[in-house]
């Protein structure tokens, strides 16, 4: 795409509630899994290659999908989110993205997703939004991983007071990994929903469930 719309979609100020997402970093910090730049980089690699791949695949597969395919994709993604909390958060983020998406790039497909009970999952809403903005499956997949990288790193900066310039360099080091993941996007775009990746990390889901039980949280998840 590389249009002005790309930059709007990638902007951290995009008003869909992403600023309060740590992508599991709040839990990882508490349990000592992430404590410095080296462990943050390891964590980011872990998320990109597990939940990141799944979400990127579903966003790519949704970007040009019709209503029937969107419903199947929704059910398939639901099956890949084992933790009730992970499902809840995914739907909540989907509703929040929907609010901005319908104002920005209204479409019948978004209206269809908005009618599903409890709202649609985030990667699917995001994929349809990117498609509506003129983006490709590759754009949708890349955007998912960009926002995942941003959520992980900005949460770590806030929770651990890391040097933001060193964190930026860390993000740049992971760019080849993101580029390598998203080359699959054209394949995902046409794939049978059941054949899409199902590699969400078990630890991610366990930590999400635990995080929901905390007495006080700074981040949604």
């Amino acid at each position: 795409m590389t249009s002005a719309a790309t930059f709007l979609l990638a902007d951290g100020r995009f008003p869909a509630g992403g600023h309060a997402q740590s992508a599991g970093v709040e839990s990882a910090v508490r349990f000592g899994d992430v404590s410095d730049l080296a462990t943050l980089e390891r964590y980011l690699h872990g998320r990109l290659s597990t939940t990141g791949v799944v979400e990127a695949a579903f966003a790519a597969a949704s970007s040009g999908a019709d209503d029937v395919r969107l419903d199947v994709l929704g059910a398939e993604l639901e099956a890949r989110l084992v933790s009730p909390r992970a499902r809840e958060i995914s739907r909540r983020l989907g509703r929040q993205t929907m609010r901005a998406a319908r104002a920005a790039w209204p479409s019948d497909r978004l209206d269809h997703l908005a009618r599903s009970v409890g709202g649609s999952h985030q990667p699917i809403v995001l994929g349809v939004m990117v498609g509506g903005a003129g983006g490709s499956p590759l754009d949708a997949a890349t955007l998912v991983l960009h926002h995942l990288s941003a959520a992980v790193t900005s949460a770590a900066i806030r929770l651990l007071a890391l040097d933001p310039i060193a964190v930026l360099a860390l993000q740049v080091r992971t760019l080849p990994m993101i580029d390598a993941i998203v080359v699959e996007a054209p394949v995902w775009a046409d794939a049978e929903p059941a054949a899409l990746p199902a590699v969400g990390g078990a630890l991610t889901e366990i930590l999400a469930q635990d995080h929901a039980s905390w007495d006080a949280r700074l981040f949604v998840a």
Binding site: R13, H19, A20, R92, T97
Partner: protein, 249 residues
């Protein structure tokens, strides 16, 4: 709670309150959409200025006549919920906490998506339970003087300052001080102990926000919030009659 109030009859004010000055200058035509959902009131201000205490006081003053809901952006613990429940301020199922990722001002101003989602979900749940909400109070996490609620999130807002937080704060101003519909100078009872000049705070504040109300309060007792409870009652009447402009205190 919420079942005994009556939308058709104006409430009885618990004390003397002159309404003659409240609505006179607000002759705006009704706008579509206004008044069709609960009135949403934002309560913002720095850390420790008394936002949570004010919410508690307003709930105690209004809960018997109105169906209330609270969305808090404060770091809300089970302990807080239990404290509110023990004090009988509001049932726990009427209070929802929203996490703000360490940036309270972002959640009320720049990216209101999570708060809107939580408000709509809470209001819909209470509506489905047959206790439709009249007023939703949205409490910001404690933040700086530039924090202000988006008009996309709330219909009117209160900004709370602490007398003991420095009597030069109103002079510093900022969007919160200048733009809030009501500015509260709280804990005025502490002024003698911290050497704060309340009169100066009130006059500085008035200068920063010409024509907008500034209210000194002490919330040691909930009745200290009487004037703000009256303001909310007036706001609700105006809201339901389709008037968008806020009424004066």
């Amino acid at each position: 709670m919420g079942t005994d109030h009556d939308h058709d009859h104006p409430h009885e004010h618990p004390h003397e309150h002159d309404h003659s000055h409240s609505h006179g200058s607000h002759v705006h035509p009704p706008q579509p959409g206004i008044g069709e959902r609960p009135l949403r009131i934002g309560i913002g201000g720095p850390v420790g200025s008394g936002k949570t205490t004010l919410v508690g006081a307003l709930c105690q003053l209004l809960r018997d006549e109105l169906s209330l809901a609270v969305v808090t952006n404060d770091i809300f613990t089970t302990e807080d919920a239990q404290a509110l429940r023990r004090a009988g301020v509001l049932p726990e199922d009427r209070i929802v906490a929203v996490e703000t990722g360490c940036c309270p001002h972002t959640a009320i101003r720049d990216d209101i998506a999570a708060n809107l989602d939580a408000i709509e979900e809470l209001e819909a749940r209470l509506d489905a339970a047959g206790t439709a909400v009249d007023v939703t109070l949205v409490e910001s996490g404690g933040d700086n003087l530039t924090a202000v609620f988006s008009t996309g999130l709330v219909d009117a807002q209160i900004f709370v300052l602490d007398t003991a937080g420095g009597d030069d704060v109103p002079r510093k101003g900022g969007p919160g001080v200048a733009m809030a519909d009501v500015l509260v100078i709280n804990k005025v009872d502490l002024a003698p102990y911290v050497g704060a000049d309340v009169e100066r705070m009130l006059s500085d504040a008035a200068e920063r926000r010409p024509g907008r109300p500034v209210v000194p309060t002490s919330l040691v007792d909930p009745s200290g919030a009487d004037v703000l409870a009256d303001w909310i009652r007036d706001e609700l009447v105006a809201w339901r009659s389709g008037v968008s402009a806020t009424v004066t205190v």
